[in-house]
């Protein structure tokens, strides 16, 4: 009888051999397209603003001549398409123009805010991920035990709360009413960077961490339980593999994959969630910048910040998908 040999692989198209590169390529292309559409939508949305942009800037001091002059300066006298093109090419080439509210260069204003928000997002994201994954894993290993029940209840409670509620509760607890350990607001001086005063970071980051942990924890727990009840774990037990080895080598790697999706979503959520947190704590980040710009009808700043946020979204989506692919060999390597 012929031995059951592993068949010699037929040379497959490059496409099948490099799924990661293909994925990045496809996603990046879609991402660029998405950003394109987003920019158009943003542009159109802001153009729908009632009233003339120039008029809102000049207000009562407007005279027909100054209006005319500002309009030319803002290119408002050109057609819609021209205006869009001017703006879009400006972004691509780095000429962002100036804020309507205070006349300063947009980049100079927005860049430090960007950095501050990045500190919040990355910090909260990392801490939340690590803690969430650990809590989820432990809850799964001690399924139906007291730890599981307690974390499950707390998870459910916290996940239901709006961010500003969490923020305010933390403020009440640690800053104003109960204890007075930490500052209630975090007015990092505009122009300086957040890490220069770590005390100001504690409550905002804590708020964000608390908000994202529950989802990550629940997903990790569910994935881990599924892994622990799977056929391959049962097989490993029947082989005599000790439990700790099963958890580390079998259960954990298999439960990370679905959790990656959730972790990615959490980072995305943080990008939007900082808006409220920055407002509550008066933190000079990009969220606060956006809210201010919207109040001031500062169109170029609004447009720029929204595009930045959208870019972050697309980027995170790609990164999440790539990592998810790296972690599951079944999708990564074709037969």
């Amino acid at each position: 009888m012929a031995a059951d040999e592993v068949s010699v692989p037929v040379p497959a198209p490059w496409r099948d051999d490099h799924p990661i590169a293909v994925l990045i390529g496809v996603r990046a292309a879609v991402g660029v397209l998405t950003l394109f559409v987003v920019s158009i939508v943003v542009f159109l949305a802001t153009e729908v603003l009632p009233g003339n942009a120039a008029y809102s800037v000049l207000g009562h001091t407007a005279t027909p001549q100054s209006l005319k002059a500002l309009e030319v300066q803002l290119h408002l006298n050109r057609g819609l398409f021209d205006q869009y093109w001017l703006w879009f090419s400006g972004i691509l080439t780095g000429k962002l123009g100036s804020s309507l509210a205070n006349g300063q260069a947009i980049w100079g204003q927005v860049a430090p805010r960007l950095v501050n928000s990045a500190v919040l997002v990355v910090g909260a994201g990392l801490i939340g991920t690590v803690v969430g994954v650990l809590l989820g894993a432990i809850a799964a290993l001690r399924k139906d035990g007291w730890f599981d029940h307690v974390t499950s209840v707390m998870s459910l409670a916290v996940t239901s709360l709006p961010e500003f509620v969490v923020a305010i509760v933390l403020i009440i607890l640690f800053a104003t009413v109960v204890l007075h350990l930490l500052p209630a607001v975090s007015p990092v001086a505009p122009g300086t960077y957040a890490w220069s005063q770590p005390r100001l970071l504690v409550l905002p980051v804590a708020t964000l961490v608390i908000v994202i942990i529950p989802y990550i924890q629940r997903m990790m727990r569910a994935a881990m339980i599924e892994a622990l009840e799977s056929d391959y774990v049962e097989m490993a037990r029947l082989k005599g593999v000790p439990e700790w080895q099963i958890v580390l080598a079998h259960a954990f790697p298999n439960s990370i994959a679905p959790t990656i999706q959730v972790i990615g979503l959490s980072f995305l959520y943080l990008a939007g969630g900082i808006v409220i947190v920055e407002d509550v704590f008066n933190f000079p980040g990009i969220g606060q910048g956006l809210v201010n710009a919207v109040s001031d009808r500062d169109i170029p700043v609004i447009q720029f910040i929204v595009v930045v946020l959208a870019t972050f979204y697309v980027f995170m989506n790609i990164v999440t998908d790539v990592i998810a692919l790296l972690v599951s060999p079944r999708r990564r390597i074709a037969r």
């Binding site: 031995a3 059951d4 040999e5 056929d231 082989k239 005599g240 298999n254 994959a257 972690v327 390597i333």
Partner: protein, 614 residues
């Protein structure tokens, strides 16, 4: 009879020491304490194989896992002894048990694709089996290479680097076999290891098992529902029903001269490729744990039952070399073993072929699946299309019915050409060709009652007044032997066999001309399969239907079809009347296929089921 006894005595005498001894094993549900497995006893010697046979719900997998001291969540091993080389493993502490598993007793799973960790390479998983038992092996790498060779896997380093999904089903199973034999255990427990494998791969795997057991003096317990496979492999058989062993003894005796009514019923349901016969199944279902009747668990379905059977629990009675758990064992033993073989009445189909396929080429995306298929299906007759997995038989069925539209060629039904997809066919045409799906658990909408499921086709195809519809639905339920109380039930309240009968009823309620059955019995137990096949056959005869019957089970073909078509990798390799194809095959593929099919010998004769030295 005495010759038999002598034979088996000799057979048993020349095997080695007893490796496994199970005594009065009982397993119950954790919550409620209902008995799942009770009073199970058997023993296995070195180099001996014992077959543990039963259908769904018999408890055989539960017993198999218990042999490793393992009980699934919700189950507790409550009583009894399991002695491995003399030591009772049920009394061991967790750490000791862990050391035993893999080293002294090993497990071969049913589904290797699920039992191998998808994120770890094969090499890692093989080495893991050795690393956790450091005392039993010398050089790990050497042993790994040896393991691969023995299981007839290519022992190049490339294999070790692969992930499970990169191997075929047969290769995956060889890996699990290698893992099981790695530490040279005393006992191997195999849980239906050839399910889902092709017939030829199955044959290789069985041979590997047999030779490894013999070489290393390993005792083996082989769990299976496939009587033919077990018959050709093991020397001892234990038949389980509702958690108890109802008959146990040497294979020749249990399969050759069965005594217990359930064993008899089971054997009568197994189709044979050698004979066209009416298959007799066993109506009803096994009782669930906690719902077992007083007295004998099989009594409600038993044709030999007397009033005492419903009151007292039967105890094992010695009949020859076997033990039979039946109160009427001695009476039944005296009855004739000859199976009443009723050849089915063949239909005389006249006239032109009702379905014609010419030059049919089908593909899935870029992958070609069918090549130039020509086929004729004659009126009022059944054509069986036989093939292994990957042969394209399901695709063929789907093209005929319109579920698969990526094909070229010609399909003619009653003289008219059919469009590629069902969406492009007229309702009148759709009505005349009906399809029955393989999986009874997904072919019925769980949110609809049986009554609704059956009257839907009537609503869509015909304009009938409400009471006329109801009358037809009632009639068709009777035709498939289901009671009227099924009308208001939901599918999840029915068993697999009942669901499949509903699917059949749904297909015939609109009175089609052609019925396409796609592996309709593959998901069912043997006894249920027999009942379903008989229902189909009777309906075909009564309603003068033409039928296309897709299957991989060659033996079944004999009992239901008049014409057989053999499909290999998308091409038809043989066509002809059933007897001719099965008795005198011409194509080498067909010949090999028939050879590889494990066969159960005739009931009532002294069969040739002793494991042949191969």
């Amino acid at each position: 009879m005495s010759a038999l006894v002598e034979n088996s005595a000799n057979h048993l005498a020349d095997t080695g020491p007893v490796r496994l001894e199970v005594k009065d094993l009982s397993i119950q549900l954790t919550s409620g304490g209902a008995e799942v497995v009770g009073d199970v006893s058997f023993s296995v010697r070195a180099a001996e194989l014992l077959g543990l046979v039963g259908e769904s719900g018999s408890g055989k997998t539960t017993v198999a896992l218990a042999l490793l001291g393992h009980a699934r969540r919700g189950l507790d091993i409550s009583a009894g002894e399991i002695r491995l080389d003399g030591e009772n493993i049920l009394g061991l502490k967790a750490a000791e048990l862990r050391q035993l598993r893999g080293a002294k007793v090993a497990y071969v799973p049913q589904d290797p694709s699920a039992a191998l960790d998808p994120t770890l390479r094969i090499g890692f998983q093989l080495r893991e089996a050795l690393r956790v038992h450091p005392g039993s092996v010398g050089d790990v790498e050497e042993r790994v290479a040896e393991m691969l060779r023995e299981s007839r896997l290519d022992s190049t380093p490339e294999v070790l680097k692969r992930y499970p999904h990169q191997l075929s089903g047969g290769q995956q199973q060889r890996v699990t076999l290698a893992m099981a034999f790695a530490c040279r255990p005393s006992l191997i427990v195999l849980d239906e290891p050839t399910t889902g494998l092709d017939v030829s791969t199955q044959r290789h795997v069985l041979e590997t098992v047999r030779s490894l057991c013999r070489s290393y003096g390993v005792a083996a317990v082989y769990v299976s529902h496939d009587l033919a496979v077990v018959g050709g492999l093991v020397s001892q058989v234990a038949v389980m029903y509702a958690g108890r062993v109802v008959e146990i003894g040497p294979t020749e005796q249990v399969f050759g001269l069965p005594v217990h009514p359930y064993t008899r019923g089971l054997l009568a349901a197994v189709p044979s490729p050698k004979r066209a016969e009416v298959l007799t199944g066993i109506e009803g279902q096994p009782p669930r744990p906690g719902r077992k009747p007083k007295g004998c668990a099989f009594a409600p379905r038993c044709s030999y039952a007397v009033s005492n059977c419903f009151v007292e629990r039967p105890v094992p009675v010695a009949i020859g070399d076997s033990y039979v758990r039946c109160m009427r064992a001695r009476d039944i033993e005296k009855e004739s073993h000859a199976r009443r073989v009723t050849p089915p009445t063949a239909l005389a189909g006249t006239g032109d072929a009702v379905l014609k396929l010419r030059g049919l080429d089908a593909s899935y995306g870029r992958q070609r699946v069918l090549y130039d298929v020509d086929l004729d299906v004659h009126p009022e007759s059944c054509t069986a299309i036989v093939g292994e997995s990957g042969s394209g038989k399901t695709t063929l069925a789907r093209c005929i019915v319109g579920l698969h539209s990526n094909w070229t060629g010609e399909i003619t039904f009653k003289g008219n050409r059919l469009a590629n997809g069902a969406r492009h066919r007229q309702k009148a045409v759709l009505k005349q060709i009906q399809y029955i799906f393989q999986n009874p658990y997904t072919s019925l909408n769980p949110r609809k009652t049986i009554g609704q499921i059956l009257s839907e086709p009537l609503e869509h195809f015909m304009r009938l007044p409400g009471d006329e519809r109801k009358a037809r639905v009632t009639r068709v339920l009777e035709d498939v032997s289901l009671g009227l109380d099924f009308l208001d039930r939901y599918p999840d309240q029915l068993s697999g066999g009942e669901r499949q009968r509903v699917a059949i009823a749904r297909a015939i309620v609109v009175e089609p001309d052609l019925l396409v059955c796609d592996e309709v019995t593959s998901a069912l137990d043997v006894s249920v399969q027999a009942v379903t096949v008989e229902v189909l056959r009777r309906l075909q005869r009564e309603r003068r239907l033409s039928m296309v019957f897709i299957t991989h089970n060659l033996a079944l073909v004999r009992s239901i079809a008049q014409t057989a078509v053999v499909l290999c990798e998308g091409r038809i390799v043989e066509v002809g009347p059933v007897e001719q194809v099965l008795e005198h095959p011409k194509d080498p593929y067909t010949i090999r296929l028939i050879e590889d099919v494990p066969r159960l010998a005739e009931v009532g004769s002294v069969p040739d089921t002793a494991p042949s030295p191969n």
